[in-house]
């Protein structure tokens, strides 16, 4: 099942659902015909769309709101924080082409701080599925929660058979004693391949698909820190405020520390281009990630 099929089915079964977009129909091309007046396109007006979503939610609706992730999370940020956050309204935000998925668009379209800023709104939940199957598996729980939620939409097909989603829990794909890779979203597939490369070289490698960044699965992170000599956080996101920060917060909460290598964007936007080239240039191919993990000196991390 695709994202759109699930969305339309959900809305047809429950008339509280309305589908909104700020004129980004990539994910919802068939929704206008299927949903009629419950499909609302506000044009290129991210702030107004969020304000209207708040109004619709006040009347008992559950708006599922679409826009490109950077404009949804940043253009409308204060509306999200103030109208949805303060009022704790069940508006579900679907951010399209987050992280590396904006490929050749350039920095204006790079949503690489979305996890950080959306995490910063009290009551807002943040989800980052690994691929379309994972996304479709997670959404029923996300959409039925009374909380506002941001989903880093990843519509790419994967080739991994995921376990069922348990709300707030990560998917522990494998446990390992040398290193555990913590990853979310689109980079899951490459992390899975990096794990295989490292295993061929004799390492014992764990892998966790984080799925939910807020609430976060403390147990999965603490367990990995206890079992593995090293953790690696992998994300197409700035280092600040994303998974690396989440892991730091969790470890501190449990009065622990660990060797943590961050594979992230540091303090810059990535070089735009076709997706495969972006991954190569930025060092996020399975081979390049495996090499970085293998060669990292345990005291020179945080890069």
């Amino acid at each position: 099942m695709t994202y759109e099929q699930l969305l339309i089915q959900t809305a047809l079964e429950d008339e509280r659902f309305v589908v909104m977009t700020a004129e980004n129909r990539a994910l919802v091309r068939n929704a206008p015909a299927a949903l009629g007046v419950r499909f609302i396109d506000t044009g290129i007006t991210e702030q107004t769309m969020i304000g209207m979503a708040a109004g619709l939610a006040l009347r008992g609706r559950i708006p599922v709101v679409h826009a490109l992730a950077p404009f949804l999370t940043m253009r409308a940020y204060e509306f999200i924080r103030t109208d949805l956050g303060i009022a704790r309204l069940p508006v579900k935000l679907s951010g399209y082409i987050p992280g590396f998925l904006s490929d050749g668009n350039g920095p204006t379209h790079q949503s690489i701080e979305d996890v950080s800023i959306m995490r910063g709104i009290p009551g807002m939940e943040v989800y980052c599925p690994a691929d379309e199957d994972d996304l479709v598996g997670m959404l029923p729980a996300i959409w039925s929660s009374p909380a506002p939620a941001y989903v880093r939409i990843n519509h790419k097909k994967g080739n991994y058979s995921h376990t069922p989603y348990v709300p707030g829990k990560a998917e522990v794909v494998a446990r390992g004693t040398d290193v555990t890779l913590l990853v979310y979203g689109f980079l899951f597939g490459n992390a899975l391949q990096a794990k295989a490369i490292l295993e061929r070289e004799g390492f014992s490698v764990g892998l966790i698909n984080m799925r939910s960044l807020k609430p976060v699965d403390d147990e999965a992170i603490v367990g990995a820190a206890l079992e593995s000599g090293r953790l690696v956080t992998i994300e197409d996101h700035l280092q600040t405020g994303g998974l690396y920060s989440v892991v730091a917060e969790v470890l501190l909460r449990w009065r622990m520390t660990a060797d943590v290598l961050s594979l992230s964007l540091g303090e810059r936007w990535f070089k735009p281009g076709l997706l495969d080239q972006v991954l190569e240039t930025e060092g996020f191919t399975p081979e390049k990630m495996a090499a970085k993990i293998k060669n990292a000196n345990s005291f020179t991390y945080a890069q």
Binding site: N24, R25, A26, I44, G104, G106, P107, T108, G273
Partner: protein, 289 residues
């Protein structure tokens, strides 16, 4: 404008369109919105924007006396780079680096390309940036002209209208806002989604001096820019254009927004541009980015 000048502009526009068509393969580009503003771009860089500082279209960063052109709609960057290449402001060979991480020729303007005044891609930003530049030109007593080109769909964004309120409050008559009125936003006609008409009345109500012209006619562009100097007001030119202008198989079609064509299709489209054959397009073009 002399007949020779007019002919030269037309020939330049034709070659810019060829560049745009070539950039629509190997990952694609926003071809429709690029083709609609070719005359506008060519005219501005040939006759409106003074490049006092030398070869660079922005005159170099230290030139406070130059004119400015801000490209706010962003998707039309192939038209900008095609124009730069034709006017000798950019090495034509660089256009082949489109979407390579080794260069900075991607889907939106950025200042790694000399001559791009400011990056864009997030709509409704550059009218405000241009207003800031125009305000400083006034504060320093300069006679610089500041032009900002927006899309029509872009006018959905409230920030455009906030800028007009503020810019008129400050009497920024050195600011000219040009709307590439190609009637489309992404895959929908503007009037079928968020209607803009009567557009001239809206700008007038916000305090602007408004002209409405054929955006593909160099002679009317000349007249419009010559008259876009009404004192005390932001001057607005609504340039009526056709999305995909020049290619019959692209023109004014909702599904020809972002297109990624095969090499064979590009070859046919270039022939179509020259009126030789009608292209047969088989690539999926309703790509929504």
């Amino acid at each position: 404008m002399t007949t020779n000048e007019l002919e030269h502009l037309r020939e330049t526009a034709l070659r810019v369109r060829e560049h745009i068509i070539r950039m629509s393969q190997g990952g694609g580009c926003f071809i429709g919105a690029s083709l609609s503003c070719v005359e506008l771009m060519v005219y501005c860089y040939s006759h409106v924007i003074r490049r006092r500082g030398g070869a660079r279209p922005d005159g170099g960063s230290g030139d406070l006396g130059r004119d400015y052109l801000f490209l706010s709609k962003g998707h039309d960057v192939p038209a900008l780079y095609g124009t730069f290449a034709e006017l000798g402001l950019m090495d034509e060979g660089r256009l082949a680096n489109h979407l390579s991480t080794a260069d900075s020729i991607y889907w939106h303007p950025n200042r790694n390309i000399p001559g791009v005044e400011f990056h864009s891609g997030s709509l409704g930003h550059l009218p405000a940036v241009a207003a800031g530049v125009a305000l400083d030109c006034k504060l320093r007593g300069g006679d610089n002209r500041v032009v900002v080109i927006t899309g029509d769909g872009e006018l959905n964004e409230g920030s455009v209208w906030e800028t007009l309120l503020v810019a008129n409050a400050y009497g920024l008559d050195n600011l000219t806002l040009v709307v590439d009125r190609n009637q489309f936003q992404a895959n929908i006609r503007t009037e079928d989604l968020i209607p803009l008409e009567p557009l001239a009345d809206k700008f007038s109500a916000f305090g602007c001096a408004v002209q409405r012209i054929d955006g593909h006619d160099f002679r009317t562009l000349e007249i419009a820019f010559a008259h876009a100097g009404v004192k005390g007001k932001v001057n607005v030119i609504i340039a009526d254009t056709v999305r995909g202008k020049g290619l019959a198989s692209i023109e004014a079609r909702a599904d020809r927004w972002f297109c990624s064509f095969s090499a064979a299709e590009v070859g046919q489209l270039i022939q179509e541009l020259h009126g030789q054959v009608k292209a047969t397009i088989q690539s999926e073009t309703l790509v929504v980015r």
